[in-house]
Amino acid sequence: MDQKRAFSKDLIVLRDIESVINNITEKLRQDVLIDFKRSGGVVGISGGIDSSVCLALAAKAFGHEKVLGVIMPEKDSSPESEELAIELAKKFKVKTVKEDITGALTGFRCYERRDEAVKRVFPEYDPNTYKMKIGIRQSGLFSNLPPVFTLTIIDKEGKQQDKILHISEYLQIVAASNFKQRSRMSILYYHAESLHYAVIGTPNKHEQEQGFFVKYGDGGADVMPIGNLYKSQVYQLAEYLEVPASIIERTPTTDTYTAVQTQEEFFYQLPFNLMDIYWYGYENGYTPGEVAGVMGETETRVEALFKNFERKRRTTDYLRMPPIREYYRFM
């Protein structure tokens, strides 16, 4: 029987990265080429670490000529995202196509619906002169109280205003913004189907398990090669695969709202290296006491943190569930 290892900060460090990569690429070939009978893979590339590693893995699994990188900017995207995506594709000799989804989003009234809700909170908000973003109140993760969402607007002079978001405005802003991920998913499937390829999804373990993805948006894909990897492990793979340093060094952002917003401030509330190790402790049944001792925290705070993790996992189960169809069985 396996002895559970004593909790430590380096439990999740990958020791043999090459064999991890070989396992992933071998399974990608099995799933996509043999089981799905598709000829290659389409990856939406954003200049972020996750999609970059997925593109590199796909190129290694299928050969660079059997991978298409799709760059899908819209009017709120940072220009840096596109530049980095191009740099990445060049590095791995992968062909790219650029699809600007601004027109599609305008057609869905994505921006209009979002701005309408923002204006209900801040009547002075003008999307032409203000930037906006949603954030969470930062003090929450070690507390028993769940986080609340805040809306921030920033004017041309950089003056920032924040307000707690009420439910209807929060839901409308999120629902409108989710058109972005769902439009991207549609474009990816267009290219995948027209090439007889599979869509390679880019969410990592945290995004999957904590529900930081859009159902049928970035959560819509045929395979998710890094779906079981912690963020710090994704970085280990990125280094090994020689993803450009400009991508590795970039702070992960949502690139969803007009104001710059890190993933940490929007969702995770903890730096990735800490999130990884706490999550490992939580999901592997280490007690708050065992984890607190190693992390220099109090047991009470780690207990609250684990409860937060549990709540996050439970409340996002719906996102991970396929449609339920067992309503009536004809015998």
């Binding site: 109140r137 507390s143 028993n144 109280l145 769940p146 986080p147 609340v148 969402f149 805040t150 924040d162 707690i164 978001l165 009420h166 439910i167 209807s168 929060y170 409860k307 549990e310 709540r311 439970r314 409340t315």
Partner: protein
């Protein structure tokens, strides 16, 4: 206990029971409703909206601390404090 306090307490208790589908008898006035996991973050935002709309109070960033929301007792006291300010 004042009439106003009793009314607030009952309204809060009714809301929590309706929102969580938990038997009213199982939620005591001092049950730690967040620690025990009755509410998620969406539930918390809905609770704040309910309190603001029904008791005509405004919640500020600094109000969002455990002591104000951890139980029916603390929510009732929070509303009373807000209304008296």
């Amino acid at each position: 206990m004042e009439v106003e306090e009793i009314t607030i307490r009952e309204k809060v208790k009714d809301y929590i029971q309706q929102a969580t589908f938990i038997d009213k008898d199982k939620i005591r006035d001092d049950s730690l409703i967040f620690k025990e996991g009755y509410f998620d973050s969406m539930g918390f935002v809905l609770l704040i909206t309910f309190l603001e709309e029904n008791f005509n109070i405004k919640t500020n960033d600094s109000d969002l601390v455990e002591e104000n929301f951890e139980s029916i007792n603390s929510i009732t006291n929070f509303i009373l404090r807000k209304k008296n300010n």
